[in-house]
């Protein structure tokens, strides 16, 4: 569950927008939220739609909801949190997405979805770049101080899963003496710890969901404790696991707006949600993503699973998304390389020149960007700069990526170009200067052409490093090749095969690039 995640950017929201108009509604939300927090059930209780009777909708809500009609709202969400939001054939789908779509349709408002990542979505909301967030977000007391939440639309929970082929584990008691796995810092881990002593198993925590599942399938762990909806979705996607114990209900998920803002949107969501539940549409959505019995039945043992496609079918399905990623990787690499070359040339010339101040600036540039990790700059540009300037900047993720990669690569290219210039025989400069050529003419006509020849292999090497480093931008949500792969296997759980495809694509791309660069090298520097 998402309570473990940090909510940077909440402070901005705290400052703003406490309005009397919706104070009443907010108070109702708080009461509803508090009363909805369940006590931890040690051995699991019945699950299903436990949010059924939590609607706060009354006539006042309905009246308020009408004000949303005809308006367009920007709703921020996570990039991938299957089954709540994830990409399927390039389109955002999932429980959250379907709910929002259906509610918007029934309540007559329009929605623009921004898929930003969980923290970025909260930041967008706090800075009023988005009107609301729906991202499988738990309703917590801390969050209620800065956001107004809708009626709970989903109750999450923790559940245990074991390998499909495992018939020895029928309940927690069968875990005695065995090792189980859970995600570090998650509620699944907390629950496993709470019962570990009683049932006599040990816990080995890891960082990634995919790793946990692979451990269980490989027999390195007997069972995994994870978020119920994530597990249920994975099982419905045939990820090789099954459940044998009921889910343990935990927190509720809600749709959030800034405190005191967009009360009509919140009201419309609540009205729409109630209508979906009353009509049975809500159950259909849950069934679609969590399997046949998800909405009303506690156990997901008998969920209907989709057909497991062959590797080649998987490759064909994945190819459009991967090619889109490759395109973005190539574009950001090409742009960054051009800028990096200019930076490298400029700072390299400053470094070998006679002006001490310029040489010092060049040294400082290299020291700073060679001495700091790429990720720090990616975060700084993408998250830091918009906060410094106080507003969002269009296409900022592209600029962030470009600045990050080109400044980093430029530092290495500065050193490559400096080295190449300095390795040209000093007699060349003396020969040219003796003829009356100026420093600039000597550089341009005599030194640089020879330096380019010397430096080209190292520059090509740097280009390849740059292409591979560009995958680090996925941490800020840049949709490069590896990012697309993560999106794919977050939804289809075919981790190894997807990564294999990505590895092959990178390898082919880099081999082609190196081959082209070497041809260009031979042409230019014969």
């Amino acid at each position: 569950m998402r309570t473990a995640r940090s909510d940077s950017g909440l402070k901005a929201g705290m400052r703003a927008w406490l309005r009397l108009l919706t104070a009443l509604l907010a108070a109702v939300m708080v009461v509803a939220g508090l009363s909805a927090t369940p006590a931890l059930a040690a051995d699991g209780t019945e699950a299903g739609d436990t949010t059924k009777n939590m609607s706060t909708v009354d006539d006042a809500t309905r009246a308020l909801a009408k004000k949303a009609k005809g308006k367009t709202y920007t709703i921020a969400t996570d990039t991938t949190f299957a089954p709540f939001e994830f990409r399927e054939n390039g389109k955002m789908v999932g429980i959250d997405m379907d709910l929002v779509d259906k509610i918007a349709a029934s309540q007559g408002f329009k929605v623009t979805i921004q898929s930003l990542g969980f923290n970025a979505a909260l930041q967008a909301l706090s800075s009023n770049q988005a009107d609301a967030v729906i991202a499988g977000m738990s309703i917590t007391d801390e969050r209620k101080q800065v956001y107004d939440f809708s009626d709970p639309y989903f109750q999450s929970g923790v559940q245990m899963a074991i390998a499909n082929s495992d018939d020895s584990v029928k309940g927690y008691a069968d875990l005695k003496g065995k090792t189980v796995t859970a995600k570090t810092g998650s509620e699944g881990e907390a629950y496993a710890k709470s019962i570990a002593k009683k049932y006599g198993f040990t816990i080995k925590s890891v960082d990634q969901s995919a790793t946990m599942y692979e451990m269980v399938k490989a027999g390195n762990a007997a069972a995994v404790f994870d978020d119920y909806p994530v597990l249920a979705y994975g099982i419905s996607q045939n990820n090789g696991l099954k459940t044998v114990t009921p889910k343990v209900p935990r927190g509720y998920y809600g749709f959030a707006v800034n405190k005191g803002r967009d009360a009509e949107l919140l009201a419309a969501f609540n009205v729409g949600l109630k209508e979906l539940k009353d009509s049975g549409e809500y159950d259909k959505i849950l069934v679609r993503y969590l399997g046949a019995n998800a909405s009303t039945n506690a156990d997901t043992n008998s969920v209907k699973t989709v057909e497991r496609v062959s590797f080649w079918q998987l490759a064909v399905q994945s190819l459009p998304a991967l090619m889109q990623g490759l395109k973005n990787t190539m574009i950001i690499t090409a742009l960054s390389f051009i800028v990096a070359l200019l930076l490298g040339l400029g700072f390299g010339l400053m470094r070998v020149g006679r002006n001490k101040a310029l040489a010092w600036i060049s040294r400082a540039y290299v020291a700073v960007f060679r001495g700091t990790p790429v990720l720090v700059w990616a975060f700084f540009f993408y998250f830091g700069v918009p906060q410094l300037v106080g507003h969002a900047i269009p296409n900022w993720i592209w600029f962030s990526g470009l600045f990050t990669l080109s400044l980093n690569s430029g530092a290495y290219l500065t050193e490559i170009i400096r080295g190449a210039i300095q390795s040209v025989d000093p007699g060349q400069a003396e020969g040219a200067r003796s003829l009356g050529l100026t420093y600039a003419q000597t550089m341009r006509r005599v030194i640089l052409p020879q330096a380019v020849k010397i430096g080209t292999p190292a520059v090509i090497n740097q280009l390849v490093i740059l292409l591979k480093d560009s995958s680090l931008l996925l941490t800020i949500g840049f949709a490069d090749l590896l990012y697309q792969a993560q999106q794919l296997y977050a939804a289809n759980f075919r981790v190894t095969e997807t990564l294999l495809m990505v590895g092959v694509i990178y390898f082919v791309a880099i081999t082609l690039l190196t081959w082209l660069a070497n041809i260009a090298d031979r042409r230019l520097n014969k």
Binding site: D425, G427, Q428, E430, G431, A432, R433, S434, L435, G436, L437, T438, Q441, R445, V446, P449, Q450, K453
Partner: protein, 252 residues
Amino acid sequence: MAASTENTANEFVVDVRDLHKSYGGTEVIKGVDFQVRKGEVVCIIGPSGAGKSTLLRCLNGLETPTSGTVVVNGHDLGAKDTNIDEVREQIGMVFQHFNLFPNMTVAENIMLAPTLVHKMPKDEARALAKKLLAQVGLAEKIDARPASLSGGQKQRVAIARALAMNPDIMLFDEATSALDPEMVGDVLEVIRGLAEEGMTMILVTHEMGFAREVSSRVVFTHGGVIDEQGTPDEIFNHPKSERLRSFLSKVL
């Protein structure tokens, strides 16, 4: 033009006064006075480390003197308003290791400075390159790459390249030291031809026979100072200082 010193500016094309040059803590040139008149051919001889090359390199600003004045063609190289690039156009220099530009053909090596500095049209510069290459006996190598030339051919191209700027003075820094013995003759032949045309030349050389033959004056440096100078006859046949006698006994 630039500030000239005393009334010798018109008389001497090279006028060096009290030149000192140190590298780090080591003084290589320890107070040299050295003048050259137009049309003179001066050979600088002396043992290794005597400061011969450093003295030569001070004349076109490749080395900056630690103290003292260097006036060439009326330009005080140490003066703030002197444009060293302009002075260098008037001084040709030939190096021990040729310093041809390997990224250009022979013709491009020769045409580079005239077209860039003198803004000479390309066809005119090529005609000039052709003429100069004929002069040094390498007309057929005009489109060759330096890498395909022998050392002696490279050095003759380097001389042609320097001559292309139509210099008033030519400096030769051990121009034949890196050559195989059989190549030396061709290069010396070219230099001899320049001497006959009346080119003012200053040569640092180890070719004593050649120095005796072409020089109007020979300068013997030792330990960073000019130890003795005079006509080739005075230096080679009637050396005065013990050091010069000792040097000559080793090299002749």
